[in-house]
Amino acid sequence: MVSAGIQEFPSIHEYVSNLVGTPPTFQGAAGRTDCTGELSVESECPEWLTLYYRDKAYAAFVDDLFSLYHEEDETPPCEGVIDWVLESTVLAKSLLAQNWTGPRVTSDDEGGIRLSWREGDRELRAIVPADLSQRYLYWQHGTKYGGIPNFGSATLYLGLSGMNERVR
């Protein structure tokens, strides 16, 4: 078990063994290997995995994300896309805390992922294609709309934060 302050959570190895239908490329998303070829869990435990065990909403999102690998008629996302999505959602989840809601997750049939949030007349879509340089964020507020190319985790957080402001 990995110790993280007051809470202990399973190692990546345990996580992998517990995840239903873990994709073969999971290692790339879970962490780097050390010089022996073993996953260096203690030093490389990714933030998203920590969140996975601490937050049910985020865990549901991650499970939904990985289930794309196992559903019939779904095109599995590229490994780099999964990595990018996991790493880029941690900041928003951490800062929004309980105000964060999981997105609808769909594939683009070409190795990419689409994340969609909707609250009333506000929408946010994070389109992450296999070619990560083509990623963009689409936002819509009533009749106003626009896009932000090459967005990062901070922009995603700001977009989601804007959606939440209306709800409060």
Partner: protein, 135 residues
């Protein structure tokens, strides 16, 4: 001349069926905008069927994995995105390999690679005007 010039023009009063083939595009009884974003396999057109030429059951039966069907009005589709300078249209577009007749295509849909923002906007507008078709 447009490549679609010889195709059959539909009346604005006609109703279209659009089959939803991905279960993630139809959640909680609502169709998602993703169902109206062009994919590479779509060849620039959104596939639909004309209600007056086929039944809902027949539309569902065309596909191996049809999770639902939504309806669209031809007139509303044509009015979609006019303010943004779009020119969406619906044309009769029979497919030689199709076991049933009544195929129609929504054309002039923005390409999500060349015009990403408009493609998402149009997907939202088509989603908003679509209705779940019930038996």
């Amino acid at each position: 001349m447009s490549e679609f010039a010889d195709s059959l023009t539909l009346q604005c009063e006609e109703v279209l069926f659009r089959a939803i083939l991905n279960k993630r595009h139809l959640t909680d009884g609502q169709v998602q905008a993703d169902a109206f974003v062009l994919r590479s396999v779509d060849e620039g057109k959104l596939s639909t069927y004309r209600k007056k030429l086929m039944t809902l059951a027949a539309c569902k039966a065309v596909f191996r994995t049809c999770v639902g069907v939504v309806t669209l009005h031809v007139g509303h589709v044509r009015a979609t995105g006019v303010d943004e300078g779009l020119n969406l249209d619906v044309i009769g577009d029979e497919l030689p390999s199709d076991p049933i007749q009544g195929h129609a295509s929504i054309i002039n849909v923005p390409d999500p690679i060349a015009n990403r923002v408009l493609a998402e906007r149009v997907a939202s507008l088509l989603r908003d005007q679509s209705r779940i078709a019930n038996d």
